[in-house]
């Protein structure tokens, strides 16, 4: 399971089915993540619009649901301008690097504990992760460390003032916050005694005391709440999002490092940014919020919480049907009830697990991924929320927060956590 390359030889020659399945899994994950990315832009625009009492995208498709597709097509068909005097190789390399690295980090994120309850191609089981190495967390940090190059090189290669300033800002910012980012998770690693993401999740078992088992409230060693806030702040800075989006501060730098990029090369930076948002949200969930563990303890009296997925999906689906039937366009009146019907049907099927055994097993199976995805969704909402609420920091404030606040606090957190872990071991 932990094979990276070393036992590749046996795998390569042994099972072609395994390879086909893994490639299919990668393709499926990329498809899902890119679609989620597209709808994340829609979600962001809708939520920010709601916060500013606007309507948001509303014209393309019912409730603007086809807006991401329209944006994508527009990116594809726009003229691809390459400014004069750019360093061609580096100019083309930068968006490619940014996108590849951010997508690559998805490979080590586990989405559920059990393999799919089917067997494929003679006994192969499908786990809900691409790979699960012992050093998953370190691989993520390695990819983050390389991620700086996409932005820095884009700024440099554009041969233009504002992108260069944006690139310089962002490399200084990302190098500064990487320290706090890495230090803030050391507490979690100490408690789990492992760099493996699945080990870290399994250690935050919530079956006894519910969400008190999560690292952020972990009462049987040291609550990582300080580490969590350091991590969250540093991670938002690391993904160059509001309120730390100085590399692309439009009031000062036009658009920062991607000013000179147009058409699909700009879209690549855009997709990279949203993919890192998903990765960071998944990491917050996995490291501090118990990963796929439910916030409820595993007591018989709380078994009903297993029907929470249907309790969310069924009313939401019914509401979409109701809302769709009175939508102003015919197209919307046709499409929205169908979408709502599908969502409600899934919810109803999960609820039917009370009476039907196979559906019950299906409902049990989706518990873990459901909680993981719900928490990831919460953090994605948090990103948008922060964007709708907070003003941008000044550059000196940004550096002060990184070096004089986050770094000392996260180092103190490491020392205290290490002491507590050591004391608990001795007793």
């Amino acid at each position: 399971m932990t094979a990276l390359i070393s036992n590749l030889d046996s795998t390569l020659s042994g099972a072609p089915g395994y390879w086909v399945l893994t490639l299919l899994k990668i393709a499926l994950l990329l498809f899902i993540v890119l679609t989620v990315n597209a709808y994340l832009t829609w979600f962001e625009r809708k939520v920010v619009a709601f916060m500013q009492t606007r309507v948001g995208p509303h014209r393309v498709g019912p409730h603007g649901l086809l807006q991401p597709a329209a944006d994508g097509l527009k990116f594809l068909f726009k003229e691809d301008v390459m400014p004069g005097g750019v360093d061609k190789f580096v100019y083309l390399l930068a968006p490619f690097l940014a996108l590849t690295l951010s997508l690559a980090s998805l490979a080590v994120i586990p989405f559920g504990p059990q393999p799919l309850p089917f067997h494929f191609f003679g006994g192969h089981q499908i786990n809900l992760w691409i790979t699960n190495p012992d050093i998953g967390l370190l691989i993520l940090f390695a990819i983050t460390a390389l991620g700086v190059y996409g932005v820095a090189l884009a700024g440099w290669a554009s041969n233009s003032k504002y992108p260069l300033l944006g690139g310089l800002r962002s490399s200084a910012q990302m190098v500064s916050y990487e320290l706090a980012l890495t230090m803030s998770v050391v507490g979690v690693v100490l408690m789990a005694n492992s760099f493996s993401l699945t080990d870290i999740i399994n250690q935050q078992d919530s079956s006894k005391y519910g969400l008190l088992g999560w690292n952020i409230f972990n009462w049987h060693s040291f609550p990582q709440i300080v580490g969590f806030f350091c991590f969250l702040t540093a991670a938002i800075a690391e993904t160059n999002r509001v309120p730390f989006d100085l590399p692309e501060a439009e009031s000062e730098l036009v658009a920062g490092f991607h000013t000179e990029y147009s058409s699909f090369k700009f879209a690549m930076f855009f997709i990279a940014e949203y993919t890192s948002m998903i990765t960071v949200s998944a990491l917050c969930t996995i490291l501090f919020f118990g990963g796929w563990h439910s916030p409820f303890p595993d007591w018989p009296s709380l078994q009903f919480t297993h029907y929470l997925p249907s309790a969310i999906l069924l009313p939401f689906g019914l509401w979409v049907i109701y809302d769709g039937l009175k939508y102003e366009t015919i197209w919307g009146r046709m499409v929205l009830p169908v979408i709502g019907g599908i969502i409600a049907l899934i919810g109803a099927l999960l609820l039917a697990g009370i009476w039907i055994a196979p559906l019950y097993q299906g409902n049990e199976f989706i518990q873990a991924p459901f909680w993981l995805l719900l928490k990831i969704f919460f953090f994605l909402f948090f990103y948008v929320w922060a964007r709708g609420t907070l003003p941008r920091f000044r550059y000196d404030q940004l550096m002060n927060i990184g070096w004089k606040l986050l770094l000392p606090v996260s180092i103190a957190n490491v020392i205290v956590t290490a002491a507590v872990v050591l004391l608990r071991q001795k007793v």
Binding site: I5, N7, L8, D134, A142, A145, W156, S171, E178
Partner: protein, 167 residues
Amino acid sequence: MSAPLVIFFVLAALAVLGAVSLILQKHPIHSALSLIVVMVALAGLYLLMGAEFVAAVQIIVYGGAIMVLFVFVIMLLNAGEEERTDFSKLAKFGGLPLALALTGLLAATMSRHGASVPNPETPGSLAPTGQISNLLFTTFVFPFELTSFLILVAIMGALVLAQREKG
């Protein structure tokens, strides 16, 4: 040829090409990028040997931190293309023979002892994370602390120099 061997040759070729390109490139940024290729290819080689932790740290420290600093400084100084000059006499008569001798020595050593390098069966068996940290904090704690102290001194020296320039 077995799959690990193919991967080894690909990574090794990448590392050598990166190193050659590091010297031949005219622009400092291109040289720095070539060096990053070398670092990442080396990390891949460590991974191939089953030293997962070392590979990740290689990318985080060398590929990430140090090379980002290089690129950052080159960008900040806005260094332009460099002109190519002829070999200096010292390089021609001292450097080239010495480099050839070193290559020959390395090749001879490797061809004699190359077969005795163990090929780990399971990942992480060559250098598991726990074992590395145990070694660092027990057997090699003195050199480890000494290195940390050296780095601390270097950081303080850099701070003092930067402050003096300001005042």
